[in-house]
Every structure is written in structure tokens, then in C-alpha cells.
């Protein structure tokens, strides 16, 4: 199954718009961990990021299967940076294609469905910033291969260039615990 198909099935399972690139990337990260699949995530300024996923998203957009809508929030700082959010959803063609693929790839499709439901139940609909912290926290814990305190996570995250605090890590580990991606002592 190609990454394009995986991403398409994830969008179909999500059901509604995925609000923002970070939101999409981080939820895809958690889905990949639940499924045990390598979707090409690597450390990045904003947390684990998959360039291959970005490319697959672009290809699905280029095929007219996924639509992107841009929301702007006005000028937010004196430097003139305008905050934007890119939302993604399936087009009518995309929904038709997803239905057909779900019929052909029942096992894979159901696994993705279950993973997405689990993420949503655990709170995967939270804001993109909290999701990003959760993804960074999971990445740091996975990379260490051992038990870490919240302070340890903060210190090691700094090594990846990530600025998180203990309170954020605590909330993140609760979310990760609900996902059963980590065990809390």
C-alpha cells in the first residue's frame, strides 16, 4: 500500500476537515505508531515531520482527490507575519475513490479506521500546539529507549531544538497513555 493510499484512508477515516498542516502531520505520526508503520517521520523544527507524507499530500491534491483551503488570521505581529492555516479534506472524487479502496483493502482500511477512532477518543482533536508537544514527547521517549522523567524529556527535547516545559510534557504523557503508546509509572 503506498503512502498516498494510507493518507487517503486516514483522511476518509477522520471524516471532517483536518485543520492545519501540523494537525495532519502529528495525527498521521500517531497513526503510524499505532499501526507500527514507518511513514518517514524525522525530527524537524516543529516536531516529527514526514517529507514523504507532505509529498503524498501534494500528489493527492494534484490529482484532485484532496482539497486544501487556506484561512488567514490577519497580521499578528509587528514583523508582518500573517498566520495561516491550511485545512485538508477529500473532494467528491476523493470520497468516491476512498470508498472503492476501502472495499478493496478491507483489512488495512479497518486498521486505519480503528487507529483514527482511538486517536480521536484519546483527544486527537486537540489544538495543533498540544498535538505537536505530544508528538515531540513521544519521539524523545522512543529515541531514548528507557524510562524518562518529565524533566528528562524537557532536557532531551532541547537536544532536538524543541522548547517544551514539564507541564506540557505531563499533559502530553496523559494523552500518550490514553493512546497506549507509552506506559506511565
Amino acid at each position: 500500500m503506498t503512502l498516498r493510499t494510507t493518507l487517503l484512508l486516514m483522511l476518509a477515516a477522520w471524516g471532517s476537515d483536518m485543520r492545519g498542516k501540523t494537525f495532519l502531520q502529528k495525527n498521521a505520526y500517531f497513526m503510524s505508531k499505532l499501526l507500527g508503520e514507518d511513514l518517514g517521520f524525522r525530527p524537524h523544527y516543529y516536531g516529527p515531520y514526514s517529507p514523504k507524507l507532505e509529498m503524498a499530500l501534494g500528489e493527492l491534491r494534484g490529482m484532485g482527490i484532496v482539497s486544501e483551503s487556506v484561512s488567514t488570521f490577519g497580521v499578528v505581529d509587528s514583523a508582518g507575519f500573517q498566520r495561516k492555516r491550511y485545512d485538508y479534506s477529500l473532494t467528491a472524487d476523493g470520497r468516491h475513490v476512498a470508498n472503492a479502496i476501502q472495499g478493496d483493502l478491507k483489512v488495512e482500511s479497518e486498521a486505519i479506521d480503528m487507529a483514527v477512532k482511538k486517536i480521536k477518543r484519546a483527544g486527537g482533536d486537540m489544538g495543533y500546539w498540544s498535538l505537536a508537544v505530544a508528538a515531540k514527547t513521544h519521539f524523545v521517549i522512543s529515541a531514548s529507549g528507557s524510562s524518562l522523567s518529565e524533566q528528562d524529556v524537557v532536557d532531551r527535547a532541547e537536544g532536538f531544538g524543541w522548547d517544551v516545559d514539564e507541564k506540557q510534557v505531563c499533559e502530553a504523557t496523559e494523552f500518550l497513555g490514553r493512546l497506549e503508546l507509552i506506559a506511565r509509572d
Partner: protein, 437 residues
């Protein structure tokens, strides 16, 4: 391109090695000269240009002298692994070696380049094994700081900066021009406790937009020019048939990858000139390899007999294309189109492409420094999204031999053939996806 370029002694030593001199025989844009007659520039001068630009960037970023030297050497050697006709060889290697891998996560041509840097005897006279490893760390992104890698391979790297200007000048177009001085003037870095990244100050946003537009226009008007796509597809087909069907020895030796020194020597013995002279020589008369190259030499090119945006196909076909056009479907389509047109299937080529976008070069990764931290370029650029969308649009085309007939009857025939070809494509795609006709 850049006025006078200065090289240090050790850089001249590397330039004077046979493996670097070989780059004089590999054209940057393959046979784009059939469209733009001036496009005969080679990987040799491009590599020198990238070295110069990388050196400028490293100085602007105030890197330590040793780091500046390392970045220049990595830039100088970054294209050593290119095969005949540049990117066409990359594609040929991937197509002809689906059961093999480079032994790492690298594409085969990159693995070849890295092997050259670490084991070529002549390079080894000027570069110690430890230093070769440092060069490879810069090229693969595992160096001490990210900034060194980003100078060579990143969204606004020295490679792109050189080839946009060089290709534009060689082709005699203005599309690839941008203000490189302003770009460098606004280049900066963002540091945290453990790493350093490339960024641009806010004053560089317009120069970056110009750069992004240059890349878009070069992609859409030159790199994806219809005739260029056709010549690239014909070269690839010739190499593929020459290796797999004609079973030509030197092609098999060069394109059937093996991770050993003997393979490397065979690969390095091939450049554009060798391929063309072998094709036109007496040894391979009557082979597909020779026949296709004869067409190229005489500019009897295939024509674009069909083209469609992928999202103009039916939903059922889209469903199959999500997984990509399977080789069996491609073969089936080419056979059916050959029947419709009354020509040999070896001359029919199905090509799926987008104008040009990849995560390695996505401008979404460019950071703009706001005085405090880095912010994505997309937050400060109004044109970025529009360009990105255009670059991602996917197309499906078919190239085949066809005499052009501009009469009314000829145009009617072409239109009815177009509809038949579209129908056959959709049928074959669905058939091989399991959707059935």
C-alpha cells in the same frame, strides 16, 4: 555565470582527477539542446558554480574556515555520481533495479556518488578517508550542524541557485533569473543550543519569492517543456530496451547495479558521448537502442498524441492511480495505443508527471527569521501557495510516432483518436487495479 571563480589548490587537485573531468561529458539537461540549442552545458561547470555559490553562502553565514572549506569540497563533489544524461540515468537505474537496492536508504545514483568519494583512488590521493567521511556527512545531513547540509541540499541551496541561473542563460531564456546578491545579503542562520539552521531575514522575502517564481517558470517552461519531456522519455526507453531487450553488454554492465568496484568502473566508463557513439556505431545496428537514438540524432521525435490532467479522468481511474500506474497497466496501455496508431509498441511511451515538486526542495521548509525565531516562509509569502499548487498538478501523456496532419480531416482524426486513447487508458488502468472493465 558568476564572473571569475577562484579555487584553492586542493580544489584544483580534485578538479584534475579523471572522475571529476568525466563530468565534462555529462550534459546538465540531457538533449534539451534539441529545443534550446545553447543548452549544451555540462555537470562540470555546474559543479564549479555550486562550489562558488556554496562558498559565498558559507562566508555570509560566517562559518569557521574549516567548515567553509568542507562545504566547498562537498559542493564540488556533489554530482560525481551522475550517469549519462544526468537525471535520465537516475530513472533508468531505479527502473532496471527494482529487485536490488543500494544497500542503504539512498537512491542508487546517490550511493554511487558516495562510493566514488569514499573509494576512488584518484580522489583518495587528495582526500583522507576521515575527510571523505566528513564530506559524506555534509551531503547526507548527518554533519555536526544542519546548516552545512542545507547549503548544499535544501529548499534554497547552492545547487538550485546555480542551475536556475545557468540553465536559464544556456537556454537563452529569462525565466530562471532572480536577485542572487539580495538573497545572499539576507541569508542568516538560526541557532539553538545544539544546532544551526539556514534562514533569511524578513527583508529577503521578496528575493525568495523571486527565487520561487524562477524555479516555477523554469520547471513549467523549460524542464517540463513538451519536447524536452519527449526526448528524455525516448532516451530512457532506449536505455531500458537496450539493457532488457537488446541485452547490450556495456549497458547491462553500467545500469544493472552491483555494489562493487567492477560495477563502478563500468558505470564511470559511460558518459553521454559514449552512449551516443555506441548507438551510432556498427555494433548495435538494428537494436531498439540504436533505432531510438537514430531518431533522436535526426530529430525525428515522437509526438504528444494524448495528454490529460489526472483529475480529469473518471473516479474509477483515479482510484487505481492513487497506487500509481502499474508496469503491467503501462505496458497494456502502450500496446493498445500502438494498435490504434498502427505503430510498434516500443515507440509508444506513457508518461505520468507533475511540473516539479519534491519534499527535498519544498519552500515550505524555508525559515524567515523574525528577530526572535524562525517562521515558515509560507506565513510571509502571498504567492507561495499558488505556485505550490501549480507545481503539484499531475498529468498523464502518451508519446508516439505520428505524422502531423493539420487539415480539417487530420484534426478530426486526431480528436477521435484522443477519445479512443483516453478510453483505452481508463480501461487498462482499471483492469490492472482489479476494477475490471
Amino acid at each position: 555565470m558568476h564572473g571569475f571563480i577562484e579555487l584553492a589548490k586542493e580544489e584544483w587537485d580534485l578538479v584534475d582527477t579523471p572522475v571529476f573531468q568525466r563530468l565534462r561529458g555529462i550534459r546538465q539537461l540531457a538533449l534539451a539542446s534539441l529545443v534550446y540549442p545553447g543548452a549544451t552545458h555540462t555537470r562540470f561547470e555546474h559543479s564549479l558554480g555550486v562550489t562558488h555559490v556554496a562558498g559565498r553562502m558559507a562566508r555570509q553565514l560566517d562559518l569557521e574556515p574549516d567548515s567553509q572549506k568542507l562545504v566547498r569540497h562537498a559542493a564540488l563533489l556533489h554530482d560525481l555520481g551522475h550517469g549519462p544524461f544526468s537525471h535520465i540515468s537516475e530513472e533508468a537505474l531505479e527502473i532496471l533495479n527494482t529487485d536490488a537496492s543500494s544497500g542503504s536508504s539512498l537512491p542508487i545514483h546517490e550511493a554511487i556518488g558516495h562510493r566514488i568519494i569514499s573509494s576512488d583512488e584518484q580522489i583518495g590521493r587528495h582526500v583522507s578517508p576521515k575527510y571523505a567521511e566528513e564530506i559524506l556527512e555534509v551531503l547526507t545531513g548527518s554533519a555536526e550542524t544542519t546548516v552545512m547540509t542545507q547549503i548544499i541540499t535544501g529548499p534554497a541551496d547552492a545547487d538550485k541557485q546555480d542551475y536556475l541561473l545557468r540553465d536559464s542563460a544556456a537556454c537563452g531564456v529569462e525565466y530562471g533569473t532572480y536577485d542572487i546578491d539580495r538573497l545572499h545579503n539576507t541569508l542568516c542562520s538560526i541557532e539553538d543550543k545544539f544546532d544551526t539552521y539556514i534562514a533569511f531575514t524578513y527583508g529577503g522575502v521578496e528575493a525568495l519569492e523571486q527565487f520561487v517564481l524562477a524555479k516555477y517558470y523554469m520547471n513549467s517552461q523549460v524542464y517540463s517543456h513538451r519536447v524536452r519531456r519527449i526526448t528524455d522519455a525516448m532516451i530512457l526507453r532506449a536505455l531500458q530496451l537496450g539493457t532488457e531487450v537488446d541485452q547490450i553488454g556495456f549497458l547491462r554492465d553500467a545500469f544493472l547495479y552491483s555494489d562493487d568496484d567492477a560495477y563502478l568502473q563500468n558505470y564511470l566508463s559511460c558518459d553521454d558521448l559514449r552512449i551516443v557513439s555506441e548507438a551510432r556505431g556498427p555494433n548495435w545496428t538494428g537494436t531498439w537502442f540504436a533505432k531510438i537514438f537514430a531518431k533522436l540524432s535526426e530529430r525525428r521525435l515522437l509526438k504528444e498524441v494524448f495528454t490529460t490532467r489526472v483529475n480529469d479522468l473518471s473516479s474509477d481511474s483515479l482510484r487505481a492511480l492513487v497506487e500509481g500506474v502499474k508496469p503491467e497497466a503501462k505496458k497494456g496501455i502502450e500496446d493498445r495505443v500502438a494498435d490504434i496508431l498502427g505503430c510498434e509498441a516500443e515507440y509508444v511511451i506513457l508518461h505520468e508527471y507533475s511540473i516539479g515538486w519534491s519534499p527535498k526542495s519544498s519552500e515550505s521548509e524555508i525559515q524567515i527569521y523574525d528577530g526572535n525565531r524562525g517562521r515558515p516562509f509560507s506565513e510571509s509569502s502571498t504567492i507561495f501557495s499558488t505556485v505550490e499548487e501549480a507545481l503539484q498538478e499531475r498529468w498523464l501523456t502518451v508519446y508516439a510516432p505520428r505524422d502531423s496532419d493539420e487539415s480539417t480531416a487530420g484534426r478530426k482524426l486526431a480528436a477521435s483518436r484522443h477519445d479512443r486513447i483516453k478510453s483505452e487508458i481508463e480501461t487498462e488502468i482499471r483492469r490492472h487495479a482489479g476494477g475490471g472493465p
